[in-house]
Symmetry: C2
Subunit: 130 residues, 2 copies
DNA sequence: ATAAACCTTAACCTTAGCTCTAAGTCAATA
DNA sequence: TATTGACTTAGAGCTAAGGTTAAGGTTTAT
């Protein structure tokens, strides 16, 4: 029932430095402490961290994540707002992905073009089959 | 038949500073000069710039782009290598996109979860329909 | 002759996200 | 009891990437 910073670090592959840094920056508030003052992470903290990572992995900045966390701290009144935030983030990422795929199309065309040039070059220089 | 740095800047929305910077970093070599020493970009330069942007937009670092450009400078012998480079880049980006979509799935689930919580909250607090 | 557009070199800036150091506390172990 | 090791804090420093600007100068058009 609860983990040390090291255990969380191992579970998440986030270094203790970063875990403290995230907490300091307000991304992961309410982490409780043992009697000795050591951080003591609950299952809930671990879940939060999961969401944070997920947002981070989809390109949300720590600043934006903090905004989200701050809203959460205000309680259920902000549920709708938070929901909208996630929806918008999702939309943004989807757009980025789409844009990326469009650019990838261009890369693909370049590849075709380069491949053709290479084939031609092979024929020219090495006279054909190999 | 050729453009000044300003014209290229307008065509590409890349600032003159950045155009010079790219050139200095070797991303866009061979830009010729007028008699007065001013840069004079050819259609080919413009095309190169297009490829550069495309690679950049798909997340290739300037360093990697330079590596690609350097290979090009070595002539047709490196055609195959360049081709492979593009193919690998494409594969990388596709993987990233896929990973992104996986993470987006998680976000979607969170949204469902938040929406449910919000609905419940609405019923609780405001007694139902609105 | 004055301003606009360009040139070069090289220093500087910004953002983002860590990463580490120093100095100290606490608990278990030799 | 002394040492080791896991933790604590505040705050400085680092890295990477990609610009951006300043200073001082030349050329070309009005």
């Amino acid at each position: 029932m609860g983990y040390t910073i090291k255990q969380i670090s191992e579970k998440t592959s986030i270094s203790p430095y970063v875990l403290r840094y995230y907490e300091k920056e307000g991304l992961l508030p309410h982490v409780s402490r043992s009697d000795n003052g050591f951080r003591f992470y609950s299952e809930e903290d671990l879940e939060w961290l999961g969401l944070i990572c997920c947002l981070k992995n989809t390109g949300m900045s720590l600043k934006q994540i903090k905004a989200f966390v701050d809203l959460s701290a205000e309680g259920k009144d902000t549920l709708k707002q938070r929901c909208e935030m996630l929806v918008e983030h999702k939309r943004n990422v989807e757009n980025q992905v789409q844009e990326m795929q469009k650019q990838l199309e261009k890369v693909s065309r370049k590849i075709v073009c380069f491949t053709a040039q290479y084939d031609e070059y092979r024929n020219d220089v090495q006279g054909g089959s190999r």
